[in-house]
Symmetry: C2
Subunit: 542 residues, 2 copies
């Protein structure tokens, strides 16, 4: 890092004398500066107050992907006329997903309102959340994430606003007890939906089929409900800023709600918490105060630089680009230490995410992601007038592309392979395509060959599904891209998604990566990209 | 009611024209005026912050009245060094009873504090509360009164103050879940005790035995923890202003904490909610806004007048006395409608409390209480210069006393009897004594005879125990009075009471009037009177 960049990186007068300070002090100063800039970009949330649509009841249906149909069970007037006593319950339907708060007036009805009212609330993103008991819980994530709450209201009548934020379409209320002398009635039940998304969703290209229009609405709702004071991965669970999710949210934001400042804030938050060697974490906590989580997925370090390049390209904000440039460049430089003979070698115990898939060989995908990172950093350097600092990257890219074709490309089969068992995966083909390795014709053939292969390792998460679809569009496989979108996000739509999920498989809609379906997140950031894909590549399919 | 009194009662300029208004409007105006005066006397609460004494563990002991011994299990330093994970629990001991709030700093300890912490709190007045499961609950009062709470804290570290008020010495914490990556540690656990009692407890007469001194400390703590913005019956449960409790709390307050304004406030609150005929309810709710509860115990209507007489006698506040005089007088006048041939006849379906006792015949006690009320109202009229308004009461008292001796006194047995079965109860003897019927010698003999009688109906509540003890002191049966105090309140002391209970029986310390011991209140206003009795009659026993 040269002196000019250090100055830009810290943005502080102290940096003028930085050469005389210990490196640790410089790093602390830089982090404080980044956090201050993140704080300055903190958005205010808009709160939209919404009345319920009515009451519903779940009806078992073994043929439904979620095993439940939703049946209307009353109007808001019916809700407000019910007097609930011990053991009574009802399910309120807000008609769509929201991230936010619940308020209501709780009225005591009876000759003597002589005790508190104790109730259990369950917040459902899906019908299964309110149709099925959460307990016994079998997952390995903390059961504290289960969206349930026991609330005691001491004095009635009382306006109540539950203090915690929830992600929900449905609210189930179970009365634990009132007393023999009174019951309770809920009046003025309201959802207070919060988001930092503003404005209207821009139109899709004309001629878009209705099912894809609907997919766009649900994808945009997913982004909206994850857009809080950071881009959260999911408002139901984790509620955390992850580089991999951020990149997809930011891409989608640029073509939809355009909250560019929120992207900037998130980049600064991530940049404020480098490891001692400068590597950025894959995730940070926003609350109670910004802090690094313990995860360092190496592919996500590349995505920090990629997300900054996307940001400068989308916004033209070269000041922020320059400020974070040394951090971005540092990610590529640290990872270059793992490149031997032009091949990225993933060390044992290092986490490279790519997808949730135990048997996926990640070598080819990581090679491609690193090359993609180099290319995007060169593009960023051009935008910032800093090409001198990446003068060596042209040769590095060329050497690594050459090594990639020699080591990862199977000429006979016409596919990229990975690992000692020459595993064929859509991950490898997709990332080679996105990285621009081998030319479009080779990529198209590789993707199509892998799509056909019976043993091909296929994506499991919406996250990797996105990159496969994007690669298919880039390779001109438009029909395959749209078919994959319909099978994947379209499958969730058919299951009744109001927002897209953290985990889904067309073969197993109730896939439970944490061993309990109820702890899945059903509004998850990395699932929001149809709104990006349909705008970015929509002209190819209408 | 004459014009002068109406003016005093409403205290409003409107009253000058009251003769032209409908009676309902006048009543509303008077109630609003009383509520405004109650609001003006609302005390501010003092908050005392207290650290725990340490950790304890309950040890089963079939020989203990509560079946449990309390064993020390660690210091505050031990508490603060424990890292609690799913399934862990501990019991914090504050060393004494308080009404108030709980605060703590909740720290996440581990490599990744990646989830909320969900915990269950149980607040124990007694060791049995935290040693035994509350469920399955078998009581017939609302289980919403069980002092338990499930709390989810989203972001750690976090200072937490639980929003609801509890009555507790012990706090049991059970960790429902953190996550596999972290546990929680409690730091700076504090009780925030609230009360409207102020100042130091005045000394007892010199020479008081140690056990009675200890009884006084616990009785005064009982009053203190029930003294909030009203005199509550119990801070654990009901938390309600009752005339019967108020009278005993006020008597005790005059010789201890002397919050006279709180008595005034409570009198106005009760007076603000007359039935259409003017009868006052036995209880009112303070929150969410003052409101009448549904109960009209007829003996408590008399006690409104008695409590006002006590108040004017203790404070000299004739302005308040005059203001509430018409209301007090109205209670005696309404009840006089039930007096036939100088005997108070309790109608079917009318509630006369006296004691919690299904088979207690209340006729004699109610006759005595009504006579006592007449006498106290005459005394009050004298203090207010309003004797003309009770000119008829002297003759009424004489006639009723004469009828009492004729109808309720068994000359042969030397006891007062009640009902068709000529039931002998301590309630009847005590109230005849307090009412001054028959002379001291007759009363003393009646009390002693009833005490000896094998079939005598004995008091069940601290409330009636108080009046029996007071009667014994008034009749000069000092040894019997002290023996009864030692058996009753002393029994609770031996069981480990830090405050005196709602219900206790020397024969059955775990008496459960609502069919579940855990829903009893263990700091209950009507149990606070040893601090009054030992000061009022202490010279007789030292």
């Amino acid at each position: 890092m040269n002196r000019r960049n250090m100055l830009r990186a810290t943005g502080s007068v102290l940096a003028l004398f930085g050469a005389g300070l210990a490196p640790q002090v410089q790093a602390q100063d830089r982090s404080a500066n980044f956090l201050a800039k993140a704080a300055a970009s903190k958005p205010s949330l808009t709160e939209t107050v919404q009345a319920p649509k009515g009451l519903i009841t779940p009806v078992a249906d073994a043929g439904h992907p979620l095993y439940w149909q939703i049946e209307a069970a009353g109007t808001v007037a019916d809700l407000e006329s019910r007097v609930l006593k011990k053991g009574d319950s009802l399910i309120i339907d807000f008609g769509g997903h929201r991230t936010g708060f619940l308020s209501f007036d709780l009225i005591g009805v009876g000759p003597n309102v002589d005790a508190p009212a104790r109730m259990r609330f369950v917040f459902g993103e899906l019908i299964s959340d309110v149709a099925e008991p959460f307990h016994p819980y079998t997952g390995w994530l903390s059961q504290s994430w289960l969206p349930e709450e026991i609330v005691t209201i001491d004095y009635l009548p009382q306006p109540v606003r539950l203090p915690r934020r929830y992600a929900f379409r449905f609210v189930k209320v179970e009365i634990i007890d009132t007393s023999s002398s009174f019951g309770v009635t809920f009046k003025n039940v309201k959802a207070h939906a919060v988001t930092s998304a503003t404005g209207e969703l821009p139109s899709l290209p004309a001629g878009m089929p209705d099912d894809l229009k609907q997919m766009d609405v649900v994808a945009a709702a997913t982004l909206r409900d994850c857009m809080q004071t950071v881009f959260e991965d999911g408002p139901r669970r984790d509620q955390r800023l992850w580089t991999g999710d951020l990149r997809l949210q930011a891409l989608t934001s640029y073509v939809s709600y355009r909250n560019d400042d929120l992207v900037k804030r998130c980049l600064y938050l991530l940049a404020a918490f480098p490891r001692e060697d400068g590597l950025l974490p894959g995730d940070v906590y926003e609350l109670p105060k910004p802090a690094r989580a313990g995860d360092f997925p190496y592919d996500y370090a590349v995505f920090f630089a990629v997300t900054l390049a996307d940001y400068v390209k989308a916004t033209g904000d070269v000041a922020t680009g320059g400020d974070l440039w040394p951090t971005a460049l540092r990610q590529l430089e640290i990872l270059y230490g793992l490149v031997k003979d032009d091949v990225f070698v993933i060390p044992e115990k290092v986490w490279v995410f790519i997808d949730w898939h135990d048997t996926l060989d990640r070598a080819a995908a990581m090679q491609a992601i690193y090359i993609y990172g180099l290319k995007r950093v060169v593009e960023l350097a051009r935008a910032l007038g800093l090409t001198a600092e990446v003068a060596a990257y042209g040769a590095r890219i060329a050497a690594m592309e050459k090594a990639t074709l020699a080591k990862f490309y199977d000429r006979k089969a016409g596919v990229f392979v990975s690992g000692p068992n020459r595993q064929v995966s859509l991950a490898s083909q997709a990332w080679m395509t996105i990285a621009g390795v081998g030319g479009k014709s080779l990529q198209t053939k590789a993707l199509r060959a892998a799509l056909k292969g019976a043993d091909t390792i296929r994506p499991r998460t919406p996250y990797l599904n996105h990159y496969v679809v994007e690669a298919l569009f880039l390779a001109g496989c438009d029909a395959e891209a749209v078919a994959m979108m319909r099978a994947y996000w379209g499958g969730m739509l058919k299951a009744g998604a109001d927002t897209f999920w953290e985990a889904y498989s067309p073969d197993n809609p109730r896939i439970a990566p944490y061993n309990d379906f109820h702890v899945n997140s059903f509004c998850h950031a990395w699932s929001c990209t149809p709104s990006y894909l349909l705008r970015q590549y929509g002209q190819q399919i209408v």
